[in-house]
Symmetry: C2
Subunit: 337 residues, 2 copies
Amino acid sequence: MKPKTKVSDVAHRARVSVATVSRTFNTPAAVRENVRKRVIAVAQSLGYSPNPAAKALRMQRTNIVGAVVPTLDYAIYAQMLNSFQTALSASGYMVFVLTVGFDNTHLYEPVRLLVDRGAEALLIVGRIEDDRARTFLAERRIPTVTTYSYQADDPIPSIGFDNYAATRQLADYLVRLGHRHMVMISGPTRGNDRQQSRIRAFREAAAEAGIAKTAQVIERTYSLREGAAVMRSIHADFPATTAVMCNSDVFAFGVLSECKNLRLHVPEDLTVTGFDNQDFAGLLDPPLTTIAVPATEMGARSAEALLNAVKTRQRIASARLETNLIVRSSTASPPSR
Amino acid sequence: MKPKTKVSDVAHRARVSVATVSRTFNTPAAVRENVRKRVIAVAQSLGYSPNPAAKALRMQRTNIVGAVVPTLDYAIYAQMLNSFQTALSASGYMVFVLTVGFDNTHLYEPVRLLVDRGAEALLIVGRIEDDRARTFLAERRIPTVTTYSYQADDPIPSIGFDNYAATRQLADYLVRLGHRHMVMISGPTRGNDRQQSRIRAFREAAAEAGIAKTAQVIERTYSLREGAAVMRSIHADFPATTAVMCNSDVFAFGVLSECKNLRLHVPEDLTVTGFDNQDFAGLLDPPLTTIAVPATEMGARSAEALLNAVKTRQRIASARLETNLIVRSSTASPPSR
DNA sequence: CTGAAAGCGCTTACAG
DNA sequence: CTGAAAGCGCTTACAG
């Protein structure tokens, strides 16, 4: 086994001190050119790279950031993380990923773990619903950004979109089309501000339209299968339903597929909408009306913000990103019943 | 800002030496009970946790493993990584993820980066096609496992499935159904042993059936859009085609959707198959014949193998996992033409 | 059972 | 421009 080479090996072979080797890489201008070249050549031939632990200990900087995501097994988070990670790597940072599920009320442990293991900054999906985590982050001054939901008033900066507004826009649109019996299929709501905002938007839109009593919310875990199963119960329990708002394209996919089994025509018999505008949304049959979400942008902008905060120690500015209501043929005004 | 507490802070407050504090956590049996309790109480109240860099430097262990994946923006890798990461976290390891695309001929840089940044072991998707990376890994004795493709003969252990066999099984099945004009849509092939094996399986099956001349392979990047686009060209350029084998369910999804536009009925006019058995496969219209791949199992078993290798320094045993041909209504014998 | 001390591999203020 | 030395925060062999 070839042991890892260290500064002293390079120094020895280049006939300089370890200080000079270190300077060659960290403050090259401070080293005479011919010496620098010799050191670089030796380092190269020995395959030298500084021990990250020693460097981190000495510099008090790890160049690691942590990402807390609900799961990777859901395209939209994976996509966000993909752009986040790519941006960070490009700047010499490594990323620790930790999946924690959808409930943000117990974020202290994962946040603590990430920081204890060296994360200098944190990306967290969704609002932090755990005061211990907030206190810890504040006391330790860990640059943190929350993504996926924009929170105007939160002391922790957020780079995301307005879940209430996006859902409200869609719900109002359905109301205008004349729907009076609507069902929302939501994802897990506990400790999940995104779902809570969407439900609130749905209920308020219904209330203002005077159809609150016929507005149902059904909560499920994200999966095609659940989407299909829920559609069966809607058909059985709320047959008057003319519009199903799915808080995920995944649900909508399952719903559409179950509609076929139930011989329900979309949109003639039922309007179905999704959320996220995943790439399959436009290829479903019929194409899905949904809300396009800036997943890649959230990842990239969060990375940029964190990078900047780590360098300048300045406060991160929140950013409210745009969503886009994409109307496709899965919506229409409801049949007269 | 509350500075991070260190051993010496705890030692001072507990009126013991730093050695005793350290022992309290690392070899508790070697500390008198009442002292130990006092130390733990103080550490707790101070929110102490050891500095990972100092610990890593001293122990020469980082408890970090690296994962090299093509992209997270593809469900099957995200799923594998999800189970990999979950298993590792449960054992106190952190994971660095690095996305590198599908071409494994330039793995030296990413492998080097991960190891230089402290990864003690590596998970790599696909065969390593870069000799510098192999040499580096061997010289430094970095426990490594390759996943997604099982390689009987490779010196680097692999925990995956036999891409040749899986594809061959499907191709032979289609041949038996009577297909004589088949097209395979493959993902990126450069530096990608999985695709190469699948293409070989397809070509050999065709050759043995005497239909090599009408067997086409079309290479594309993975996306629904590409799947749809390819279907258009197949329809235009190879109208005699009766079966399209997609090396990804994503392609197949696009192909099926384009078939609708082209007024092609599946499977009456055309047989379409996928690969991966993603959760949507059975909900497509018609349900997709595909190959189920053990994504979660690959992640979990690779994690286990790496964990074990890091602890025992023993050689990792390769494992050939099973795939499953799932026949659904998107296949049938071809129409007589 | 406990403490003083060495040392893991770096970087940088200090002196020359 | 260069080197000797201190020190980042741990763990553990050594001595008691």
